[in-house]
Amino acid sequence: MNPLLLFLIPLLPLLGGVFNACCGSRLPQRLVAAVAVLSVAGSFLSSLLLWPLGAGEGTRTVLFSWLQSGGFRADAGILFDPLAAVMTLMVTGVATLIHLYAAGYMEHDENQARFFALLNLFVFAMLCIVLADNLLFLFLGWEGVGFCSYGLIGFWYRKTENASAGRKAFIVTRIGDLFFAIALLWLFREFGTILIEQINARAVELDPLLLTVLTLLLLGGACGKSAQLPLMTWLPDAMAGPTPVSALIHAATMVTAGVYLLCRMFPLVSLSTTGMAAIALVGVLTALYAASCAVAQREIKRVLAYSTMSQIGYMFFAVGVGSVSGAMFHLLTHAFFKALLFMGAGCVIHLAGNENDIYRMGGLKRKSPQVFWLFLIGILCLAGTPLTGGFFSKDEILLTAFARGDGFSAILWGLGVLTAGLTSFYSFRLLYLVFFGEPRQAEKGHSVSPLMLWTLPLLALFGLFGGLLNLPHLFGGHQWLSHWLGQPAGVSLSLGTELGLLLLMLIFFGGGWLIAHLRYRRFPGDEQADWRSFLLNGWQFDRFYEFILVRPYRTVCRFCWQGGDKALIDGIMDGISRLCLHWGGYARKLTTGQVAFYLQGFAWGLLLIVGWFLLSAVK
């Protein structure tokens, strides 16, 4: 197989997107949807066919030289190694399913052309991140993803809140990109090249302090894109976009780009211990923070958004404790069941007559059992019920953390387990509120289109049996994913401790479920506790940032304009001109019109000249 075929993977969505953007609005809606789905499906097929190219060392190809000047060289090249192969497969696979689902979901929307064009461009940008062989091409995908999410969040632009949510997402991610750009520039300054492989290979030459700084910068970039602390406030608002967008961007692909970046640059990142500790810390703290917020959310999609943020925190935690395979494993399983949950949420919203607030839903189990069962599978994976995909991936992360043995990892492990308990609590809370009890929604919902329903079972299967991808030895598995990624074999703990840990996980899972069951089985009605509103607004981070960042920025800008430009610079210039005019007035008054005065002018002139001569004669 010719390596250049690899370029089919990103180019197909690009072509689909450009086609839809240029002439989509003139074509019938169905054709537009078909073109979009086919282009992504084609990309999925080609990544399947080209899978062997990714084995072992992987293949490198270059299409054309993008920027080449004075010792700097960045070209549109692909590095298709095991990590990229797995990620490409996941991205294109989930994207195809979501495109199918979107074709059904957006049936009644009038400008589908713009929607599908942006969706395809998003897939292209995501593939650029995944496949890029140099950091600048990755950066191109990185910002392209940011723009597409801006376009898609603000898709229903008539309501200004959606547009400003999109803008907020774009600016916050852009702040993250700033750190990534600085790391990129610094790497070029150090190595003179931006090829990922060369950087990873020569990472050992750097001195430790610089390594830590670079890792922290990469972490900053990853936090921006993956909505981790402190750049996470944009994700909940991003739910303003249509549900397929939330499913694709804010569950499966874009938010995982940060994790992927860290895994891609793992050889460099792993060299600095403080960097790794920071990544782990950020991961766990975000997981805990997000889980606590998810507990008190009122809208179905916001619960899922916070849960995504929490699960991504787990992946950061995995990278932080040094297990790339754990992170990727959790990333894959999470992509499947979270996409399933979001699409399920879409169906739920349709069923409940476009109602988002879970306190005003209920009893949907009787309304459509299929949605209930599929949603249940998703919830089970999310909560980490034993033997489901979610359970194995989360368990592996916690095992590796526990195995490190040092005190810091132990604390993080404890927080991780606590968060697992919280996760199962809010998962079942969501389940009970939406599907059990009497129906509380206002109008009668409309039925769910078949296209939306039939894409869900496939994801449910992958979610449930995701564990097979990387089955640990305890369960007789051979950790296929770790071998495929070329990572060291799973950590070996004595059988007793492993069983003990499993038991502990079971206890926390059961506890969470029990509390949720007792609390929400028969819904007592809406309760308004102030600590709930604190959690509802995501620990008031939004108001906090508004207070310390956005408002001072506006005052600084106005001050610069009025004070700086108007008063200072213009003031000086206009002042000088007024001064000249003022003196002009005096000089003008000199000509009084009196001839006698003119003659005196003569006399003064004579005195001036004669006096000057006397002066110079004296000198």
């Binding site: 001109s577 005019l581 005096y586 000509t591 002139g605 000249i609 110079s616």
Partner: protein
């Protein structure tokens, strides 16, 4: 006065005798346009004769030289006089000027100017200067229609008379200090250590006062705005270009004769130049009247000319002569436009009357803008190379400070040159329609406009011609 000397003086004779003939005949046949046109003919005839006839004798009666320098200026001034007469043809009709007297006076002024430029001795200088000053007394008050003409005439008369007194006294003192009127020798009295030196310097002081008046340097410029506003537009054109230009033309050989002696003189001239540039610019800024603004701007330009004169050397002199020509063309053009707009009841001078005029009389207003931009020294117009020459000469004779002052005044002066242009083109108001121009005015304006543009784009040949004509010190 041998026949050869008479032959050498032919151009001036044509002008002077022609003027007297026109005066006499005018008394019998009082027809206005015919005498003015004949005056134009005489002027062009004088110019042609000065150009073609190569005089055999070098100097006439020890007072006037016939070097190419003198002939060059004779041509220039007679052409100027011709153009002014052509310009004022329609103006004389509307204001019912006495055709014959007007023509003869203007021709006399032309003769006086060319004699002054040709002066090679103090006596010649005195005679030439007084010749056209007296004529200008009458010309300024020529318009019997309005009172401000008379007032302008009065002011010019009083100031002129006093200035003549100073001039004569200055010449007398220089003569006492050196014993000779002829220029190069007259300055020997100023050698260092010569016991007559303070006397010579006092003479120079008086001379400077008289020059200050004639050329309206700062402290002596107070009469300029009133006379420019009061005098009829063509006469103001002649006054602004001719009289000032001729005085500077005579100063060049005077300073060339001074040579190294000009120690103290340079510092006084520096003070006068700076005062003129700065004072003129500041006074011109708030002006609301085109003619008064042009008056103050002429004060500033005289400051530049003085700066060029002080720099001395071939570069300085070439710059001054080129600047006189360029400044003359632009000012004559500007006053030509004012003449063509003027009606029987007075000339439009205040900016209020010019609002939005640019679109009702596009050709003349574009010409006026071109002249103003040339005076401001903006490149495509000739004024740029004038200023370029002056600054080149100033920097060459390392008068850096004065060059800097020149640059600053050029910058500030841009404001009052742009103001009429803004009023003409950018502040449209439904103003009344002014008078349509006559063919004669269009000819003169066309000549001036094309000269301003041509010299702005390709000044090479004129600069070379001036280079050859300059008096070798």
């Amino acid at each position: 006065m041998s026949f050869a000397e008479l032959h050498a003086l032919l151009p001036q004779l044509i002008l002077a005798l022609g003027a007297t003939a026109v005066l006499m005949l005018g008394a019998w046949w009082p027809s206005r346009s015919c005498w003015i046109l004949s005056g134009v003919g005489l002027a062009f005839a004088a110019a042609i004769s000065a150009g073609l006839l190569v005089p055999s004798v070098a100097e006439i009666g020890g007072m006037f030289s016939t070097a190419p320098y003198a002939r060059f200026f004779t041509i220039l001034w007679s052409l100027l006089v011709g153009l002014t007469l052509l310009l004022s043809l329609r103006y004389a009709e509307t204001h019912r000027f006495a055709g014959a007297e007007y023509t003869s006076l203007v021709l006399f002024a032309g003769a006086g100017m060319s004699l002054l430029s040709a002066a090679s001795s103090l006596v010649g200088l005195f005679l030439g200067l007084e010749a056209f000053t007296l004529v200008l007394y009458v010309l300024i008050a020529f318009n019997r229609g309005d009172t401000i003409g008379a007032e302008a005439g009065l002011k010019y008369l009083v100031m002129g008379a006093v200035a003549t007194g100073f001039l004569a006294f200055g010449i007398a003192l220089i003569y006492t200090s050196s014993g000779s009127f002829h220029l190069p020798e007259a300055m020997h009295g100023l050698q260092q250590g010569d016991h007559m030196r303070p006397l010579g310097l006092a003479g120079w002081a008086m001379l400077l006062v008289a020059i200050g008046f004639k050329v309206s340097l700062v402290q002596f410029h107070l009469w300029t705005p009133d006379v420019y506003q009061g005098a009829p537009a063509p006469v103001t054109g002649l006054l602004a270009t001719g009289s000032k230009g001729a005085v500077f033309a005579s100063l060049i050989p005077l300073f060339a004769a001074m040579g190294a002696l000009a120690g103290e003189l340079n510092s006084v001239l520096a003070v006068l130049a700076t005062l003129s540039m700065v004072g003129g610019t500041l006074a011109a800024l708030p002006q609301r009247n085109l003619k008064r603004m042009l008056a103050y701007s002429s004060v500033v330009h005289m400051g530049y000319l003085l700066l060029g004169l002080m720099s001395g050397g071939a570069d300085g002199q070439r710059a001054v002569v080129f600047y006189i020509i360029v400044y003359g063309i632009a000012t004559l053009g500007a006053f030509g436009v004012v003449t063509s707009f003027s009606r029987a009841d007075g000339e439009p001078q205040d900016y209020e009357t010019f609002h939005g005029l640019g679109y009702r009389h596009p050709r003349r207003c574009i010409a006026l803008s071109a002249f103003l931009l040339s005076l401001a020294g903006i490149p495509p117009m000739a004024g740029f190379f004038g200023k370029f020459g002056i600054f080149h000469a100033a920097l060459k004779s390392d008068h850096q400070v004065l060059a800097l002052v020149g640059i600053l005044t050029a910058l500030v002066s841009l404001y009052y040159y742009l103001r009429p242009i803004i009023v003409l083109f950018m502040q449209e108001r439904p103003a009344h329609e002014l008078r349509r121009g006559w063919i004669h005015e269009f000819v003169v304006l066309a000549v001036c406009f094309s000269l301003v543009l041509l010299l702005g784009i390709y000044p090479g040949p004129l600069l070379e011609l001036i280079g050859q004509v300059l008096p070798q010190p």
